[in-house]
Every structure is written in C-alpha cells, then in structure tokens.
Amino acid sequence: MIARVEIHPGRYHDSVRLMQASKALQNVEGITDALVAMATELNLSLLADMGFDMDAVADAGPNDLVLALRAEDEGAIATAHQVLDDALTHKTAPSGGLDAPDPKTAGSAAAVADANVVLLSVPGEHAFVEAMEALEAGRHVMIFSDNVPIEQEISLKTYGGDHDLLVMGPDCGTTIINGIGLGFANAVEPGSVSMVGASGTGIQQMCALLDDAGVGVRHALGTGSRDLSEDVGAASTLQALEALEEDPATDLIVVISKPPADPVAEKVRQAAAACSKPVVVTFMGETTLEEGAGEVLAVLGKPPAEYGTWPAANDDHRPGFVRGLFSGGTLSSEAQFVAAPILGEIGSHEGDEGHTFIDYGDDEYTQGRAHPMIDQTVRLERLAAATRDDSVGVILMDVVLGYGANADPAAELAPLIEEAVTAGAAVVVSLCGTRGDPQGRDAQAAALNTAGASVFLSNAAAAREAARLATARTSA
C-alpha cells in the first residue's frame, strides 16, 4: 500500500468540482482512498482524519491544491493523475442553446406564444382548472373535452361573459376562426357567412353544403353541446351572435343547434330577430341542415342548390331494415328525424329491433378509443356484421372529412362496402366534406361509389334515400 500527498501551489478549483474529482479518483481501480481539495483548514483536518502524513502539507494554504492518495501500486497512482487531469480540465461540448423546457400547462404555453385561444382536450374532470386559468389570463377557450360538470360550464361561461371572452364548449367539436379550423373542421373558402353552432357535425354539414353551393365561410363558432340547455341558457351562443353582428366582414349568420329547451329557443329567436344582420336559425328536429342551407342561399339571392350525389350503379338489394352506422351524433339524429316519418319507429341502441340508427361517437362506444371519425375500427366491424345480418337490407353511414378526421376513410370502407353490396345489401353514404378537405372530397366520393355505395353530400338526402330504398323494397 502506498500513501501519497502532493501539493500543487496556487492551483485553484471550485470545491464542487474538486468533490467530483475526488469521487472520480475514488473509483479508480487500485485506489483505496483519495482526496483532492484546496488546502483549507477544513480539508486539512479531513486529510488528518483520513490518516495521511500531515508533514507534507505543513506550508500549504487555502490557495494551494492538495492531492492525497492511498493506492495499491504506482500504476494506480499514475492512473489517478490521469483521471484527475481529465476531471479538472474536462470540457463539455457547448450546451447548444438555452432551451426552455416544454410548457406544462396550456396556460404556460399560451403565455409563451401570447396565444388568444386555448384549446383543451384534456380529460373532462381536469378541463375546468385549465380553462379558468386561460380566461383569467384574458384568453378565449375552446373545450373539446366532454364530461365536464355542468356547474363548471356555467361558471366558465359566466366568467367569460363578464370579461368579453368566448367559452367554446365543453364538448365543442368544431370551430373555425377566419378560415382556420380547430377540432374537427372542414377546409372552407373565404366568405361572408358565419355560424354559431352547439353541434360540431352540424357546423361541418352546413360548411359542406354551403361549399358545394359555392358559398364561403368566415367564422363558425362552436359553443358546446349543452349551450342551449335550460341551465346554460345559450350563454355562449348569444355572446357569439352579438360578436358576429359586430364583425364587419360577416353579412349573414347561421345558428345551428340540436333541439333546444323551449325558453332558450325563444331567447335565441328573439336575439336573432333583433340582430341587424340576417340570421338563419336551424334547430334540428324542427328543420334540416339542408333546409337551413337553402334559406341561406335564398337570403344571399342564390338559386336552390343541387347537392353532390353519386348514385350507385345498381340499387337492387335484398329486403330488410335500415341499419344506420354513424360517427356524428347530429348527423345520426338528423337522419332519424328525416327517416322516421317514412320508416316509422327507429331504434338508437345496438340490439333494438327493426330499423336502428346508432351514433358510434357516443361515449358508450368510444371507451379507450379515439373518436370514430379518426378510428373506424368499431364501425368497420359493425359494417361487416350488418353484411352478415340477413335482416338488414340497407346500410346507411356517414363519412366525415376535414382536418382532424381519418386521413383516408374510403380506403378502409371500400372493401367492406363491396362485400355488403355483393351480399345484396344497399349501402348509402352521407359524405360530409368540402372540396378543399385534405382527404379530397371527390376522390373519397368516387372510391365509395366505385365500391357500390350511393353517396350524398346532404345528410338529409342520404337518409331519405335509405328510407326510400327500404320502403320501396318492402312495398314491392
């Protein structure tokens, strides 16, 4: 065993660096004890405690470096010197900038970018805190998340109303601001029509119909599926309506909602009537989006539109019920509203007898999965099942295009549609998309049509066709 104490006069290193160096020395093979430190009183007493010869350091002071080693052989001491030199002259590559860590909340991200809209799709139970933070920082909020308690929605919308901030949602699927879509949204041409909608797919269908008729869209402000409930009282809808009235580039406003609570419907109608700009109110259940779009065209002085239709080559099909497989809740309920007078009773749950129109975007079918507009797995399964089910004569589906949606839904659906048609079922597709959508609306329509489906841009038209096919066959 060799003990070695060396003094390096005037060689200053910070104590932290020296502690690291000591640690590195202790890890050298053959070194049993090591200390490298400035020769301060404290360090010299440590050295003494470690049992080193103190004579060598008698003249050392705090500006001198002391190196003490206890080693098995000279080789280890030589290695230790090497390690020490490396440790004390160690150079790390340039840090490559002073990158800040990613922001951890939407609020911090918004502060970094000075954002004016915060878009939240966190689990519903956590959305309130994030949304309130955004509002308190003076930012508008879109809450894509659902399952937010209604009292929290009211609290957010009250705060927003008091501070001239718009709360879009919760459960707001679609918003378009100056042509930029948030959530699920279609590419729109610039225009002077703006929308306020409590239904995401309702807004999307209206965008698709107006686009097909050559009418552009400026804004579409989503307000969340419960905005026109009695508790929420259309807080965001009325606020958005007022903002659009003031928006100089908006000439016509469309209000879209599922059937609202009666007193709320009245309030919205009064606001619409008082507006200085024309307002088309489309409460589905009273009317269809197709009729709403027709009203818009009429106000704009345009002729009624013939919406895109790609009829199937052959509409001969086996007898049976209509099976509706939807991804958009609004499209599903509108189809029921249109088809029920023709078909009679329509079930809306799996396992119901007779005609069934089911919304696979409902929570019940989305546990642990992305929305069916993105992930079609469940609907693909149900399409195959309907093909095998002899009691089904007509299969009615929606296909929603646009930003946020599946990149090529027709490619996944086409083989299964072919099988359905080969098995004798008729397939009718309600294709909700615009010409500018990233998936390519006409290419999607062509692919679905080639596979054997009848394709309609108007959801109401698709529902009418499905009902017609089913009843035509029944009465035949």
């Binding site: 910070d14 932290v16 502690m19 690291q20 640690k23 202790q26 009183e41 404290l42 007493s45 440590l46 160690h90 790390t92 840090s95 490559g96 002073l98 990158d99 800040a100 860590p101 990613d102 922001p103 951890k104 909340t105 939407a106 609020g107 991200a109 918004a110 970094v112 970018a113 000075d114 004016n116 809209v117 915060v118 878009l119 939240l120 799709s121 966190v122 689990p123 139970e125 956590h126 309130f128 805190v129 994030e130 955004a134 508008h140 929290q152 501070h163 001239d164 718009l166 601001i177 100056n178 930029i180 948030l182 959530g183 606020q239 903002a243 003031e246 993105i374 930003y403 946020g404 990233p438």
Partner: protein, 468 residues
C-alpha cells in the same frame, strides 16, 4: 375594440393541452400553435384545484402575496443576542430548523446540535448528560420559523448566541438568524466537539459584539444589493456564497478598520473569520429571505409557498393562505457529492431552514447564475440553466433585482405556487448541504434535493378547505 371582436379580426394564435392530433391539424393549416406537455394533477388534489378555480380569488391573492414578498428591502441593522430579541425564549429554550419536532423523533444531526448547544449554554456537562436531560424533557424545542427566525442545517439557536437583526427598509418587519460558524465540525451540522463549542463562545464574546459595534458606526448594510451583485458573480445564494461574502467583507471593511470601540486584535480575528468562511453570508441571505416570506404570509386564498423547511426528520411547508399551519412529509435523502471518504451511507435526510432561499428565488432557483457549482447538476452549465428555467413553470414572478446574466438578465423565478406544483408535477429544486447522520459527525457533503410532493398536495387540500 373588445377582446372578442379582436379574436374575430385575425387568425387565431392557439395554445393546446391534450390530444396532439388537434395541434397537428392546426399546424397542417399553417396556423400558429404552441403545445404543452400536459399531465393530470397530483392524485387527490383535483377537487381542491377545482374549488380554488371556482372561488376566483386565487390569482389576485397570489399577485398580492408575491408583491409583498418582493417589496421588502432587507437591511442588516445589528447583531444582538438571542435572549434579548426573542421574548418567548427561556434559558431552557432551543429553537431549531424546520417544522415542529420532539426530541424522540429528532435526527442525528439535530440531536448533535442540541447536545452541543446545551453544553455551550452550561445546561449539560457531557453529551450523555445532555441527551438524558433532553430525553427527560428538561428543554423546550420550538421552530425558528415560529419566532421570525431561520437557521441553516439543524438551525439550533440558544439564548446566548449572537443573532443578526435584519430589518425591512421599506416596512416594519424584522427577521433574525444566527451567525454562520463555517464548514466542517460545526454545531449546525450536528457536531458538538470542544472545537465547535469553543467557536460558539468566541462568536458570542468577540464576533457578535464587534459586528454590533461596527454596524453601529457604519450603519445598516443593504443585503439585497449584495445578493443581486453576487448572483452576477457566480453565487446561487444557497450552496455558493463566496461572492456575496466577499462583497460583504468589503462593505464592512472600512468600519472594521476604523475600529469602533473594539480592540484591534479582535477586529482582525473577525476579519479573518469572515474571510475564512465562504458561507458567512448564508445566514444573512436566509434572514433576508425570511423577511420577504413573512411579509407575504396571511393573504386569504393565496397558494404562494411562504416557507419550505426541514428538521432532518420532516420536510414542512406553509402557504400564505393557510397561515401558520405546517404541511409535512418525511424529509427526503439528498442526492449529493461527498467530502473525503464519506458516502451517502453516512448522510442524514434533508435538514435546515436554508430552503428559505429557494422560497425567495435563490438557491436551486438561481442555479443558472452559478456555473461554478454545476457539478451538482450533472456537470454542465446547460443543466444548471435548465434547472432554473424549469422553475419558472411553478413560480408567480420574476425577481426584479436578482438577475441571471446567462439568461439575458432575466429575473430569477420567485414565488412558488403550490397549485402549479401539484398541477405540473414540477417540484421545487433545492441546493443544500448534507449532515452526517451520526450525532457529532458534522458536514459530509452537499447536493440537491426536491421538495416532497406530499407537502404540496396536503397544503392545497387545506387551502381549499379555507374557502367559503
């Protein structure tokens, strides 16, 4: 123009939390979007966070609290004696670091420091005697923080010790701390050898009176200005105080040479003592922090953290909105570098009131200012910078005086918001010394520790219970 019409006037600038797909589709349209790395809040705090958001007072309360924290102007005005400044201090009273503690739960270094202080006060004639008396309850323990005071490591403050008096130049607050003994075998690290006791006697006989006389002739010393300068000279204000101590000694130098009434050999001793102790200023930086922290306390609904402190057994925090209540969790081990042949086996869990520095925007929060000690954070300056940058996520303000040159003189992150801690999972980063776990050992190393999440979760639940 109203906020809402402003929104409708141009393209949206979006910030997101949640599904990345939504951010992607905005990008696809060529619009501006900033993502966040969102995660759910700490389990068990959801209801408290929602209650606080619904209550609506939190944001303004936090602004008020952090403004008060930043408004103080700490000045060292005197060095007095503990028994003279603490009205509740009896001859058998010992203040200690961290949240309340009893002898039976005290850690090694805490016991060591109490033993040493009892010997120093003449209440025991041997360590064994001191232990027996302490175990019989013949002494009274009380946290420094309950008396406007702070102490590093064990923080033991006994009646005869000299204490620095730090007053607010902009208000009427006062805070106190003991004077720093140096490194190695010192009382605050739990050492009670004769060497430590002798030093304490010298401190009350020479250091305290000389400093008091010198301060009287020189006038108050503005601590904040010294600290601000020192951050630009490589200090963090917690684990590195070399620059601030040098500045302090320069500041004191003239008056020390002039002499006041003290004999020249004593003044020389004082000069050498301060010069030989790079951490002399630590205690004064801490007292300056305590002044701000006390000023910020007591704002209803505020989730500002006013105190983080450890006693070697528990880590405790206090919030502005919950007043004097402590929220405690077990003191964590320190991730450290060790002196000589000591290892983590020899280390006591985290201890000391010195985390007051992190509470006021120094220490781990100012790591980017202290490249000399980056060895603690993986050895790179970039690591130090990242550490500081991460703290902006959980703080309410940027310090107007404490600036970091490497960050383009951005103010240090200051004013920890417990709500942001539980929401983001980002824990306050603390630089600290490490005491030996066997009573009497002294200092064994230094390193880093994170404040335990449990303290913040408890505190948030308690704060929400104070709302109507």
């Amino acid at each position: 123009m109203s906020d809402l019409s402003h929104l409708l006037d141009g393209e949206p600038i979006v910030a997101t939390a949640g599904t990345d797909m939504l951010a992607e589709s905005i990008e696809q349209q060529g619009a501006q979007v900033t993502r966040s790395d969102w995660r759910p809040p700490e389990a068990g705090t959801e209801a408290a966070l929602a209650a606080l958001a619904a209550d609506g007072r939190n944001k303004e309360a936090n602004t008020t609290a952090v403004e008060r924290l930043l408004a103080v102007r700490p000045q060292l005005v005197d060095v007095s004696v503990a028994r003279d400044v603490f009205p509740d201090m009896t001859p058998r009273t010992f203040f200690h670091a961290g949240p309340p503690l009893t002898w039976d739960r005290a850690s090694g270094p805490m016991r060591g420091a109490i033993i040493g202080a009892m010997i120093y006060e003449g209440l025991a004639d041997s360590p064994k005697d001191a232990e027996a008396k302490a175990a019989r309850g013949e002494i009274e323990l009380s946290p420094c923080h309950h008396h406007g005071a702070v102490g590093p490591m064990a923080g033991v403050t006994s009646p005869s010790m000299p204490v620095a008096v730090v007053a607010d130049g902009a208000g009427d607050g006062v805070a106190y701390s003991t004077l720093n003994e140096g490194l190695g075998k010192v009382l605050r690290y739990g050492a009670f050898a004769q060497e430590a006791i002798d030093r304490l006697h010298w401190m009350d006989a020479v250091l305290g009176p000389v400093m008091s006389a010198v301060l009287e002739s020189r006038g108050p010393i503005d601590l904040q200005s010294l600290i601000a300068q020192a951050l630009q000279m490589g200090d963090d204000g917690h684990n590195r105080n070399r620059a601030v101590t040098s500045l302090f000694l320069r500041d004191l130098g003239g008056a020390l040479v002039d002499g006041a009434d003290a004999p020249v050999d004593q003044r020389a001793e004082v000069f050498r003592f301060i010069d030989g102790n790079d951490h002399f200023m630590l205690n004064l930086v801490m007292a300056a922090g305590k002044l701000g922290s006390d000023a910020a306390s007591g704002v209803p609904a505020s989730s500002l953290v006013t105190v983080m402190a450890r006693n070697g057994t528990d880590f405790g925090i206090r919030l502005s909105g919950t007043g004097e209540e402590w929220f405690v969790a077990p003191a964590p081990p320190v991730d450290g570098l060790y002196l000589g042949s000591f290892t983590e086996e020899d280390a006591s869990p985290d201890i000391g009131d010195s985390t007051i520095t992190e509470t006021v925007g120094l220490g781990g929060f100012a790591m980017a200012a202290a490249p000399a000690i980056v060895g603690f954070v993986g050895g790179t300056a970039a690591g130090a910078v990242r550490r500081t940058l991460a703290m902006y996520e959980i703080t309410l303000a940027e310090h107007p005086m404490y600036q970091i040159p490497m960050l383009e003189f951005r103010g240090t992150p200051v004013g920890i918001d417990a709500a942001r801690v539980v929401r983001t999972g980002v824990l306050p980063q603390i630089n600290t010394g490490v005491a030996g776990k066997v009573p009497g050992t002294g200092m064994v190393g230094a390193g880093l520790v994170e404040a335990p999440m449990e303290c913040f979760a408890q505190a948030m639940r308690a704060l929400s219970a104070t709302l109507d």
